[in-house]
């Protein structure tokens, strides 16, 4: 018979590294996809009329008003019931990306709207086309203004990626839980996990605040 409880050992580092890697990879996917979609949706919302806005707004609203953990369970179960089971990584990436998109689109919308109309009129009067105005004026100015908020949303995505564990994705927190079960050493393992997130998040959040201060001046 195998022994049930064995202490943490070096042979566990492979499992921990897998968890770390999986956390990083799903966060990167969600941030990249969420940013691209958020940029498009944010731009459309800043541009379009009220009816379109209300339609977009209500969908995004649902994504922001239902806990991520429930969205994950529902989506994963639902696509399966429709006959298209998805691997935890795929289902998790989709939900986390859409969730990120919901927040990113607000960030970008406010960025685009912060570029004053008079600046756009000025650009047009210099002979720029509509697309040139968007590309040379609204995008760079709008994006620069929202960089700290973008970073803030990205950081919360890294932290929220821990929730994808509920649909069976072996990210850091889930691997650590598996190790806790086997070692009965929750404290050591949890502190290690906390330090990992902190090391990633702290320098970035500081950088974000630094940029914010610099822009305020």
């Amino acid at each position: 018979m195998n022994s049930l409880f064995t202490p943490l050992s070096w042979s566990d580092s492979g499992l921990i590294l897998t968890g770390v890697w999986n956390t990083i990879i799903i966060s990167v996917v969600a941030i990249v996809v969420g940013t691209v979609l958020g940029l498009i949706v944010g731009f459309l919302r800043a541009e379009s009329n009220k009816a379109v806005n209300v339609l977009f707004g209500s969908v995004l609203d649902v994504l922001r008003s239902v806990p991520l953990i429930i969205q994950l369970i529902l989506f994963s179960t639902f696509v399966g019931a429709m006959g298209n089971p998805l691997a935890p990584f795929v289902a998790g990436s989709i939900v986390l990306s859409l969730y990120t998109m919901a927040f990113m689109s607000e960030v970008f919308r406010s960025g685009f709207e912060s570029v004053s109309p008079s600046m756009q009129i000025a650009a047009r009067s210099l002979g720029m086309t509509k697309w040139q105005t968007i590309y040379h004026i609204r995008l760079p100015i709008g994006l620069r203004a929202v960089f700290p908020s973008w970073l803030g949303v990205s950081l919360s995505v890294i932290k929220d990626s821990a929730l994808v564990s509920v649909i069976g994705y072996m990210e850091l927190l889930r691997t650590s839980e598996q190790l806790i079960s086997r070692t009965q050493q929750p404290l050591e393992i949890l502190i290690g996990v906390g330090i990992f997130y902190f090391i990633i998040s702290y320098p970035l959040s500081h950088y974000g605040r630094y940029v914010e201060r610099k822009m305020a001046i």
Binding site: P67, I70, I73, F78, D160
Partner: protein, 221 residues
């Protein structure tokens, strides 16, 4: 799609779900109130010249902001358990939410306070106001206006994150949903209803908040 929805079993268990929703609201309101009180203290400590106080506040804020909520909850539950400190699931979730709320709100409050130029205080004093009067009528109302939206967002965040109670066996809305679905195995039905309930709760909170804002700020927000 080879899935037939059975809604009956959900309706039969509605009282339990509503009870779970009440616990969700309960824990989030409490987490918000305690979070605000502690955040005020931390914001004062952070602006304090005594290094010790400002450092304690800084450590609190940074840990709260830079680690996942799920980690905080596990830490409060099994992490403290390793020291023989045993919180119930409710208290563990509550304290994790308070810890994080306080961390985020500290920065909000500090930002709100610092955004009001000190010249306004001097000006109100020169108009013959006492300190209390100038805070009551000049400083605080402006501050409140600046921090009102971030506070509302934090409250909504608390409601959504209290759903992590499911992971320490708390009987809030998500935990109750999980229990009920495992008795009947009607996962989709129960979680759809839970999602609707969360949506309604957050919408009601936002609606209430905007009504209150209209009264407080007389439409100038």
């Amino acid at each position: 799609m080879d899935y037939e929805f059975h809604w009956n079993v959900v309706f039969q268990n509605m009282p339990q779900l509503l009870n779970g929703a009440f616990v969700t609201l309960h824990v989030s309101v409490l987490a918000m109130l305690l979070g605000v009180v502690i955040a005020i203290l931390l914001a004062i400590a952070k602006m304090n010249n005594t290094k010790f106080f400002s450092q304690v506040a800084t450590v609190w804020v940074e840990i709260a902001r830079n680690t996942p909520a799920l980690f905080q909850i596990y830490m409060a539950y099994f992490g403290l358990g390793a020291f023989g400190i045993h919180l119930s699931p409710y208290v563990a979730v509550l304290s994790a939410l308070v810890f994080i709320n306080a961390g985020y709100l500290t920065e909000t409050f500090r930002g709100g306070f610092q955004s009001i130029p000190s010249t306004q205080y001097s000006a109100s004093k020169s108009l013959g106001m006492t300190s209390i009067q100038s805070y009551r009528y000049i400083i605080l109302p402006q501050m409140l206006r600046r921090i009102y939206h971030p506070m509302t967002n934090q409250f909504v965040w608390s409601i959504l994150m209290s759903s992590l109670g499911i992971l320490v066996g708390m009987s809030e809305l998500s935990g109750t949903t999980q229990r009920l679905q495992s008795l009947s195995f009607r996962t989709l039905e129960f979680f759809i209803v839970a999602a609707v309930m969360y949506f309604v709760i957050t919408k009601l909170v936002l609606f209430g908040s905007s009504l209150l804002a209209r009264r407080l700020f007389k439409g100038e927000i």
